[in-house]
């Protein structure tokens, strides 16, 4: 009995880690490879989430959408729309240097959040959208969770392989060149702005996909889910702790942070009630402390970026 429960919890943990890993991989493309400080992850997460919600949920009077399309169409739509919205945003904002870009993207994410809360004809406003189908959602509890874990794991695997391939291709080397020395890259004829825009859009589509996976898991989406704390800053911590510039680091960061966040509570719940409640506030503190320690003692993260330093051939 207990073991089944534990396994079931582990499955749930895996699903959320997978979703966060996708967000972290998306951010890794933007920050890790290209050096774009995107502090508006929640915005693209939300766009993906709402796009698939609108495409696949049943019809409701007074709201656009409810097309009851197949779930795969919803996911593709989520990626496409997140990318399409990232394009003009990137076009305007990517001219900024890193910290200004961060401020601009925070603003963009806030605009997206407020638009979602207000534009009821499209997003259901503050009530959100419910009744979204979950693949294999009709199976019993455990089987349904397991099926969803397989889907999420497959998505993470495919995305990881593609991003990894892209990173080792000339494209990845070019992006790192742009990140590390823009002037030199420009002098070699690389189109800096177009490439940065490319990375921004690419990363945003992955964030959109993560939003879509999240929505179908919960069968609902409400504006509370796009809180910057859990949909932007937590992902930054994951990437920095795991190791920015390294895809496995990005995934590992998601595993470590979400596990600490969730599993620590199981342990602290064994404490007397008063302390157990206080321990829940301490969790937030521990995550912050870990970030400080990593930045102080291991700024490159747990799994640092692999730098293939090849000595120049003799002669």
């Amino acid at each position: 009995m207990e073991l089944i429960g534990l396994a079931n919890y582990a499955i749930f943990l895996g699903i959320l880690i997978g979703i966060y890993a996708l967000l972290s991989l998306g951010l890794n493309i933007q920050w890790g490879f290209t050096g774009l400080f995107n502090a508006g992850i929640a915005g693209f997460f939300a766009i993906g989430a709402y796009t698939t919600a609108i495409l696949t949920s049943p019809h409701l009077p007074g709201r656009v959408g409810g097309f009851e399309m197949p779930i795969l169409v919803g996911w593709a739509g989520a990626m496409i729309v997140a990318g399409l919205i990232a394009w003009p945003i990137g076009k305007i904002c990517l001219r900024f240097r890193s910290d200004y870009l961060a401020i601009a993207t925070i603003g963009v994410a806030e605009i997206i959040r407020l638009a979602i809360r207000t534009e009821e004809w499209l997003t259901g406003g503050t009530r959100g959208i419910t009744g979204i189908p979950r693949p294999f959602g009709d199976l019993p509890y455990v089987q349904s969770q397991l099926a969803y874990l397989v889907i999420v794991a497959l998505a993470v695997l495919i995305v990881y392989l593609l991003v990894e391939r892209q990173l080792h291709a000339p494209w990845g080397r070019m992006m790192r060149a742009i990140r590390d020395n823009e002037g030199a890259a420009a002098a070699m004829g690389k189109r800096i702005e177009a490439r940065r825009l490319q990375a921004f859009i690419f990363g945003s589509t992955l964030m959109g996909l993560a939003g879509a996976l999240f929505v179908h898991f919960n069968r609902s989406i409400t504006p509370e889910a796009i809180d910057p704390m859990i949909a932007t800053f937590l992902i930054w911590i994951m990437l920095i702790l795991g190791g920015s510039g390294n895809n496995r680091g990005a995934i590992l960061g998601a595993v470590v942070i979400w596990t600490i966040w969730s599993v620590s509570e199981i342990l602290t719940d064994r404490l007397p009630t008063e302390m157990a409640i206080q321990a829940k506030y301490v969790r937030v503190f521990i995550i912050g402390l870990m970030l400080q320690l990593v930045l102080r003692f291991r700024p490159e993260g747990i799994l640092p970026e692999e730098r293939r330093t090849r000595t120049a051939p003799p002669g």
């Binding site: 009995m1 207990e2 073991l3 429960g5 534990l6 079931n8 919890y9 582990a10 749930f12 959320l16 407020l114 809360r117 207000t118 009821e120 406003g125 503050t126 009530r127 959100g128 419910t130 009744g131 979950r134 019993p140 509890y141 349904s144 969770q145 898991f217 919960n218 069968r219 609902s220 989406i221 409400t222 504006p223 509370e224 889910a225 809180d227 859990i230 590992l252 595993v255 470590v256 596990t259 966040w261 969730s262 599993v263 509570e265 199981i266 342990l267 719940d269 064994r270 009630t273 157990a276 409640i277 829940k280 506030y281 937030v284 747990i302 799994l303």
Partner: protein
């Protein structure tokens, strides 16, 4: 490095298994979820205290079943879906709870119900999720609430205004699930009973000036403004600016506006045409008993959602007792202990209830927040009164239906 982390993970999971070794067979465990961290952190302590008071009442008066105790585990939903599903999954799978009281915010309730408790067949009673969306959940009769949906108050207020001859009104609401939920229900009902809405607009909380919003609303020609907002927040600003600029003559608010801050800041003299609706626990022996017990425990009985939280936890305990600890019969048992016919049970009367259940007699819990006669969606109708300002406080002038 990686293997170390894996080892650490395995160790902590194993630790969890050891710690959760099966409790005494007759004990029953429930989960108490609230928004301990996050936007409603200020409300959560009182809610949790009220739930724990109910558990104490149960355990002090004979416990559950044949000598078992009611245990609880507390979870933090942080008022968002991510943390709510996480806390609910742990409660259901690791702690093997039989029922769940909470989570606190509507978005958290919907997500936790959809992806955890409904698939797992666990009964959920929320004491503070007020969104009308919760009514529509396809819940296999597993989601209940002891707090009325915002729908009820909005509709009751619409009917009351129409009865009192306010046929043409403008509505300003704060754009969150509270304000929006009330405003939508109000609009729907007001138009269907033949009233005219001369303006209807939402606003964001916390702005310095709402004069342009008010001017826009006043253009419709109504002399009554209905404000769905908070009286110690932007609702106060709206009321002040509407009075200063003479945009409207009459003002009506819902429970959020029934705040002492309004009278303190604006003065009773300026508020002769200000009315509010608010839920009233039926002035009952049960409410008195709760107030007394909660104050004796050192907490403020007027804290928001304290009464509904107590009732939710107490009803959960009654249902478990009635169902004999059988998870599958829990929702049926909950309906049975909360509706007519049956011997009335007041707050704190666990021993009496336990005895009657053991004798096979029907009981009907009359809670601190009301009778909790659940409808087929698991919702409760609220009891509301219509208030005017009188001196430094509010005075009920009529019941609302």
């Amino acid at each position: 490095m990686k293997s170390k982390i894996t080892a650490g993970l395995v160790a902590s999971l194993l630790g969890a298994v050891l710690f959760t070794a099966p409790a005494h067979a007759q004990n029953q465990r429930i989960a108490l979820l609230s928004g301990i961290s996050g936007p409603i952190a200020a409300m959560a302590p009182a809610m949790l205290e009220a739930m724990q008071l109910a558990v104490r009442h149960v355990n002090e008066q004979g416990g559950i079943g044949n000598g078992g105790r009611l245990e609880f585990v507390i979870g933090d939903d942080a008022c968002n879906p991510q943390n709510a599903t996480d806390a609910a999954t742990k409660a259901v799978n690791i702690d093997r709870v039989i029922g769940m009281v909470g989570p606190a915010c509507s978005g958290a309730v919907i997500a936790a119900a959809n992806s955890v408790t409904i698939p797992a067949g666990v009964l959920m009673i929320t004491s503070s999720g007020t969104s009308p969306q919760i009514t529509k959940l396809n819940d296999r009769d597993l989601v209940f609430r002891t707090v009325p949906s915002d729908d009820y108050q909005g509709r009751a207020l619409a009917r009351t205004l129409k009865e009192r001859g306010m046929d043409k009104v403008a509505v300003a609401y704060v754009n969150n699930d509270y304000g929006k939920g009330l405003a939508d229900a109000f609009k729907d009902e007001f138009e269907s009973v033949g009233g005219t809405l001369a303006g209807f607009s939402g606003h964001e909380a916390g702005k310095a000036s709402y004069r342009s919003d008010l001017a826009q609303l006043a253009r419709g020609g109504a002399d009554t403004l209905v404000v769905f907002d908070y009286g110690d927040g932007s609702g106060l600003t709206i009321l002040r600016q509407a009075l200063e600029n003479n945009f409207f003559k009459n003002f009506v608010g819902a429970d959020g506006m029934k705040s002492d801050a309004v009278i303190r800041e604006l003065g009773a003299d300026n508020l002769k045409t200000f009315f509010t609706s608010a839920p009233v626990g039926e002035a009952s022996a049960s409410l008195d008993a709760f107030n007394q017990a909660f104050a004796a425990a050192g907490h403020d009985p007027n804290a928001i959602f304290a009464t509904t939280s107590y009732d939710a936890a107490f009803l959960m305990a009654l249902a478990i007792e009635k169902a004999g600890g059988d998870r599958a019969k829990l929702s049926e048992a909950l309906r049975s202990v909360s509706t007519e016919p049956g011997e009335p049970i007041m707050v704190g009367e666990w021993a009496k209830a336990k005895q009657l259940i053991a004798e096979g007699k029907d009981i009907n819990y009359k809670g601190a927040a009301g009778d909790h006669a659940f409808d087929e969606n698991g919702d409760v109708p609220g009891n509301y009164s219509f208030f005017k300002v009188s001196g430094t406080t509010y005075e009920a002038i009529a019941e609302m239906h």
